[in-house]
């Protein structure tokens, strides 16, 4: 049963990935549609980041995580190096949890 789950997930996930890449060749997209693709990708990533920052299994994730993300975003805004953004976000959240913030 486990094998079936893994194979189905693997095949399905790969199908999503590869069909996008291969469709790009076949589809003769008009210019405006090609211009929208990066907009769509950025929108998906923004939605992903926002839900990952704020929610956990359908509910609010607690304050520690969004606060850490905010610290990271502010660092990025101030053009801090990427490494600092990632470490700053994680460290802030970890510190808040250490202090008992959920």
């Amino acid at each position: 049963m486990l094998i079936a789950v893994i194979v189905a997930l693997a095949v399905g996930t790969y199908a999503f990935r590869v069909s996008g890449v291969l469709l790009r060749d076949r589809l003769d997209l008009p210019v405006w549609a090609r211009q929208l693709l990066p907009v769509g990708a950025a929108t998906l990533l923004a939605a992903l980041a926002a839900t990952a920052a704020l929610t956990e299994v359908g509910g609010f994730a607690g304050w520690a995580r969004p606060t850490g993300v905010l610290v990271g975003v502010l660092l990025a805004w101030r053009r801090a190096p990427f490494v600092l953004v990632v470490v700053g976000a994680a460290a802030s959240t970890a510190l808040l949890r250490l202090l008992g913030v959920p």
């Binding site: 789950v5 839900t51 993300v69």
Partner: protein, 251 residues
């Protein structure tokens, strides 16, 4: 660039380790855990699948995981030009596509730099995830809790940092902020995966808007409020879709 990818890569090793440890602790055999990381290679779907398999719902595990991963289709459409011309590059590159890889790739200007970014991030992060999983399996239940390390904050912060330069473009900013709001507000109501896909409503509306005025002639057709009607604005979307804010300091 290598340093940036390594920063996320380190976090991915840790989360991979926690996946390996959680899955083994939940009773999955080591080979199954490792095979899942190698073949599925999608963290969120893997955690979800382990939970549902252990709960005795294998069908739900597959459906929920696939719903969560449907976003890779539009990612593939966007990165299709970047991955490479040869068939093996397209077939192999497809497997390496993740949220983080997509973000790193789109943060580079079109062309060779973008292709290199894709393969560098794709390869390093794939290795990181699988090394992490292996370590977690070896460690059994002993691997640390990624929440205690704040790693759940590291990924959204990294994604947003990579997106920030592209938000200077008005169209992208509107679509991204609107989509993020839609996704967050619908998360309590919909199964995981759907809210993020629903965020595409914004870009879809833009598409309808442009279909309705297929005026190739920019003269007169632009009212100033229409998105990217002027050729200059339109060009900025493709060639520097995500302008590189930090190119100088990171490669």
């Amino acid at each position: 660039m290598v340093r940036d990818v390594a920063a996320i890569g380190a976090a991915i090793v840790a989360v991979g380790a926690s996946f390996g440890a959680v899955a083994v602790a939940a009773g999955l055999p080591a080979w199954g855990v490792i095979a899942m990381s190698l073949l599925v290679y999608a963290g969120g779907a893997q955690f979800m699948a382990v939970g549902l398999v252990v709960a005795g719902s294998p069908v739900a595990a597959v459906l929920a995981g696939l719903l969560l991963n449907a976003r890779h289709l539009p990612f593939g459409l966007t990165l299709g030009d970047t991955v490479g011309r040869r068939l093996w590059q397209r077939l192999l590159g497809s497997h390496l596509m993740t949220d983080e890889t997509t973000a790193f790739t789109l943060a580079r200007p079109d062309g060779d730099a973008r292709r290199r970014a894709f393969w560098l991030a794709g390869t390093l992060l794939f290795v990181a995830w699988n090394v992490g999983t292996g370590l977690g399996v070896l460690a059994g239940g002993v691997a640390g809790d990624p929440a205690a390390l704040g790693l759940d904050a590291a990924f959204p912060a990294g994604l947003i940092a990579l997106l920030l330069p592209s938000l200077r473009d008005r169209d992208i900013r509107r679509a991204a902020l609107g989509g993020a709001a839609v996704a967050v507000l619908t998360t309590p109501l919909l199964p995981a995966g759907l809210p993020v896909l629903l965020a595409l409503v914004g870009p879809a509306l833009l598409a309808v808007h442009r279909l309705r005025q297929p005026s190739a002639t920019p003269t007169g057709a632009t009212d100033g409020s229409g998105p990217a009607d002027s050729p200059a604005e339109a060009r900025s979307l493709t060639s520097e879709a995500v302008p590189v804010g930090r190119k100088e300091q990171s490669c």
